[in-house]
């Protein structure tokens, strides 16, 4: 059993994008804040902070999850991949191209989260249209109306 007191700063090590980040944090720090403030990885965007908008989606042990709904202290034994890490993935150029050609973004605030979900759930996998919509339904985009993003995701399956 490991017991971390409320207001104390405790050293933790998180594995992010193949690197180790060791810093002292409070147990209440969200993973999204850890990535942005402790790691300086500001590609992970924070929108609603209660799991609705999907902007903060990252990969934890390969699965797309909301980083605002996880505590940083709770994922010390997982491999975390943010948009900065995904951008170095061999699949990324195709995603970049598909998003560009299909006008799948405008302001881009929601895009890092959508790309994280796409690379975990859609890219290179045989997905039914309904499943692609289901994955995209986990993200709010206030600019595009989703059709461009859907076209891009359909090209990537």
């Amino acid at each position: 059993m490991e017991w971390i007191k409320a207001d104390t700063l405790t050293p933790v090590t998180l594995h992010v994008n193949g690197r180790q980040y060791r810093t002292a944090i409070e147990p209440r720090m969200l993973l999204s804040d850890f990535l942005r403030q402790e790691c300086g990885l500001t590609g992970t965007h924070v929108g609603c902070e209660h799991g609705v908008c999907g902007a903060c989606t990252v990969l934890v042990s390969g699965e797309a999850v909301r980083s605002c709904l996880m505590l940083a202290v709770s994922v010390t034994d997982a491999e975390i991949t943010t948009i900065e890490g995904l951008a170095k993935h061999p699949d990324f150029p195709a995603v970049y191209q598909a998003f560009t050609e299909n006008h799948a973004l405008q302001c881009g605030f929601c895009t890092p989260g959508i790309v994280a979900s796409a690379m975990a759930e859609v890219v290179g996998r045989k997905k039914k249209d309904k499943e692609i919509v289901d994955v995209l339904s986990g993200h709010l985009c206030r600019c595009t109306g989703y059709h461009g993003i859907l076209s891009a995701l359909r090209e990537l399956t």
């Binding site: 059993m1 409320a6 969200l30 209660h50 999850v65 996880m70 919509v133 289901d134 994955v135 986990g138």
Partner: protein, 311 residues
């Protein structure tokens, strides 16, 4: 939108978790997937003094089928197949299992309505039941299928039937010193008809109303057993008892509508920002009739398939 400060306790064994829960001064909350708890903490709707992180209790992340004759579900005797789901099983894990298991089709269908893939990856089955949002799909399904919740504390193990598990808004039979460790879900027989319908503004939102149904029909096409659950209306999901009037009867669409209306007439409907009471009343009648019709159709189709297999 940041949680208030709390002690973080990561346990390595169930006994450790139970001993921390037994300390009533601590008022500790159990953290599993956190997909309901973290929003509540972020918005400071709750400010617990301590969180017990149970994510290392790998023994609670398993699922499998068991044949048993549970007390309290005599309607399904003699032996009924249950799906035993550890409290830490992720919703996505159950969804993938249910996709490959024909008898868990209803569970699979309902799970595709739960949040989004991104929240189901992390959210747990036990967490959803313990959170007991009255419009959530898993509590509705647990009640409709029937089953048992198993809780543990330093005092021992306790079982509560699905019908007694949900008590009010976000309130269950779990005592403060107890932890939900597993749940048993009745799996419908291969020839049983099933249906799930939900109405909501946007996919992934909480249901305005949702209904689920299981139904068994005899070789003479009369209804032998039927159960309909309704979620999103009251402080807990509820069973529509009136549908039992259909047992022993042949199928007649007008009759189904009458029974659905009788069920709805017993219930209270309130106005809220999402819908007026008269709208909800209408929607409930439509959903109850339509799950009944769909489950009957499904049972008829399955009976047909069964016949072909035998031939």
């Amino acid at each position: 939108m940041k949680p208030s400060a709390f002690d973080y306790i990561r346990v390595d064994t169930l006994d450790e978790a139970l001993s921390v829960l037994a300390d009533s001064n601590l008022e500790a909350k159990v953290l599993a997937g956190g997909q309901s708890l973290l929003p509540v903490l972020n918005m400071r709707l709750a400010q617990p003094k301590a969180l017990i992180d149970i994510n290392r209790l790998a023994a609670l992340a398993t699922l499998g089928q068991v044949e048993t004759n549970l007390t309290g579900v005599a309607a399904y005797s003699p032996a009924t197949t249950f799906l035993k789901v550890g409290a830490l099983v992720r919703q996505r894990q159950l969804e993938r299992y249910a996709l490959e298991e024909p008898r868990a089709e209803l569970i699979h269908t309902a799970l595709t309505y739960v949040g989004h893939p991104q929240t189901r990856n992390q959210g747990t089955v036990g967490g959803s039941l313990a959170h007991a949002d009255p419009s959530a799909e898993l509590p509705l399904l647990f009640l409709t299928l029937g089953g048992t919740a198993i809780m543990q504390s330093t005092r021992g193990e306790r079982q509560v039937a699905a019908e007694q598990f949900f008590q009010s808004y976000f309130t269950t039979a779990i005592k403060p010193d107890e932890m939900l460790t597993k749940t048993l879900w009745r799996l419908p027989a291969p020839d049983e008809g099933i249906a799930f319908k939900e109405y909501r503004r946007r996919h992934g939102d909480f249901a305005l109303l949702a209904a689920a149904c299981t139904m068994k029909i005899g070789s003479d096409r009369t209804v032998q057993h039927v159960r309909v659950g309704l979620g999103g209306l009251a402080d807990t999901p509820l069973l529509v008892d009136e549908v039992r009037e259909l047992v022993g009867e042949h199928w007649a669409k007008e009759r189904v509508r009458t029974v659905a209306e009788a069920g709805v007439n017993r219930l209270d409907f309130a106005d809220d920002y999402q819908a007026s009471s008269s709208y909800r009343r209408q929607l409930a009648t439509v959903l109850i009739s339509s799950v009944l019709d769909a489950a009957y159709e499904d049972a008829t189709a399955k009976e047909g398939n069964h016949g072909v297999d035998q031939g």
